[in-house]
Amino acid sequence: MVVEIGGFAVADWVTLAPTLVLVAASLLVFLIDTVEPRPGSSSNAVLAAVTTVGSLLAFLVAGYLLVVGVGQERVTGPVSMFNGQLVVDGMSLFFVVIVGSVTALVALASYDYLAGEAYQAEYYALVLLAATGMSLMASANSLATAFVCLELSSLPSYALVAFYKDNRGSVEASLKYFLVGALSSSVLVYGISLVYAASGRLQFGAVAEQLGARPEFAGVLGVGVVMVLLGFAFKTASVPFHFWAPEAYEGAPAPVSAFLSSASKAAGFVLAFRLFLTAFPEVGGLAGGDPAVDWVVAVQVLAVVTMFVGNFAAATQEKVKRMLAYSSVGHAGYVLIGLAAISAPDSGFVLGASMMHLLVYGFMNTGAFLFVALAEQWGIGRTFQDFNGLSTQAPLACAAMTVFLFSLAGLPIGGGFISKLYLLAATAKAGTWLLGAALIVNSALSLYYYSRVVKAMWFEEPDGTVEIESYPTSLYAAVVIAAVATVVLLPAFGLLSPSAFNAASGLF
């Protein structure tokens, strides 16, 4: 198979270049560690540089392919390879852009965070392997491939959460994450088997073709679809498999929390989008007529419940990292609107709004967690009070954190404002007023707990016990880059959103 990229005819697998770059970077990290195997003897700088450059390259290549229109209607159409097991289209490239940018930020921040730790090479290798799995998830086009990609991104994540293997909190968090992950994987794989039983196909498009609008075994299929949905709820940290998130994010090293809550969530969503829109559109009633398996309603319920659970739980937290973890659950609820309001006449807009929210969220949420990483480096505590008066000593980082939090809340200081506005418009278009109301109520509530951090940093008096000694350069750089990207996405939103809308409408 030959496709044309920017005037050159190349083999179709070249469109997977971003993923291949991540694979190559992880193999390079392994090679470096093979040369210097004693823990702590390979250079942290080299490893961090390979990881950062590799993921940055993946980000740039994916961005380039997206800009020249690979896999989109106007140039080549979706590039399908390996008998339709993988597909590269606007949607997959868009999410590789998200995963690549988050991984690059996390790797940059990890350089300072990991200074002096043993097993650095293992850390970077696991991050890159997980990123590989996430970028492949964006391209997975069959139930079997989807499951393998999901595991490829999950297994390194379990190990990453337990990176401090002598720290009880870290190990406990990892065990909980692993157990919930194993449970939800089994639920997912059982759901896949039921879908296969009802359709006899694994490839998404073939499943839809085989099922038609009136499948023969609607009951079996219904149970299967619900179980698959629950399996994805784990990956995206949505209700009912959300309770691992606060534990895992709190116990894990903060850059890993950033990585899991942004990139891993985005990857779970892209797979859910692709699966439900290419494998179950007709049975869900998207082509008109009565739905045989009404998964849209199930997603609507999950979206509303996830929003409320995440935000109300976040409002009661005393620790900043747990608050951010629950807020990330709440944001999963916002993104679910993309699927829940899909029956709107302009479904490309609805789904595109969700994708744009994930893009903005990738920067602002990663930045917020990296700020927490900075605070952990300084050795100040974990509760809201411990952040009191931090702005007198670290005004730049606190300003960046303020940008992240207000953008997460949806104030017009960062891209989070417009993406939430678009989500609200999407609910209005679909006429699902309950979703829109839930979005508004929860955004208002989230402003309360986000501003608690801002108040502590800027308005409270410092208690004078904390003295910041060092200003780690790469962590600072990562936080500032994320803040700049969050702010720039406010005016630049209109530049990027058409590609999201095009990519989204490519699925219908």
């Binding site: 694979v23 392994f30 090679l31 560690d33 093979t34 195997p37």
Partner: protein, 137 residues
């Protein structure tokens, strides 16, 4: 024609009745001699030492993991070798050989890494060494 499930049901019934009746018969006929040796844990005829909840050496896990990797590698290479000649004749050497070389290359990198990091180095556990010393004395 009668329902074929009747035959299957009859077979299942016989399959349950025969072992149950044999066990019941022998229970009624045999003498009962309870004795210490019969209640001990069976350890291939050896006198058991310690209980079953011991820590296994991490090496078993490492070796098992490497075994799984190579097992799967074999499963993929085997059908590839079977079709190799035909495939070369059809699509050319490069398209048949290079993907497999890339696959094996990835595994070699992983194996070299595991080897250098001591996954296949045989470590003596302090516990077995201590036991060996005990037996000598």
């Amino acid at each position: 024609m009668s329902n074929p499930w009747i035959a299957i049901g009859a077979l299942a019934l016989v399959a349950v009745v025969i072992p149950v009746s044999m066990l019941t018969m022998s229970r009624l006929l045999r003498p009962s001699v309870p004795e210490q040796g019969k209640r001990a844990v069976y350890e291939s005829g050896e006198v058991p030492t310690g209980d079953t909840r011991i820590r296994f050496n991490i090496q078993y896990y490492m070796v098992a993991l490497l075994f799984v990797v190579f097992d799967i590698e074999t499963v993929l290479i085997f059908p590839w070798t079977v079709i190799y000649r035909d495939a070369v004749a059809n699509v050319g050497l490069a398209r048949v050989l290079l993907p497999m070389l890339a696959f094996i290359g990835v595994l070699v990198v992983a194996l070299a890494w595991a080897w250098r990091n001591g996954a296949v180095r045989w470590v003596r556990s302090p516990r077995t060494t201590a036991q060996r010393v005990d037996r000598k004395s």
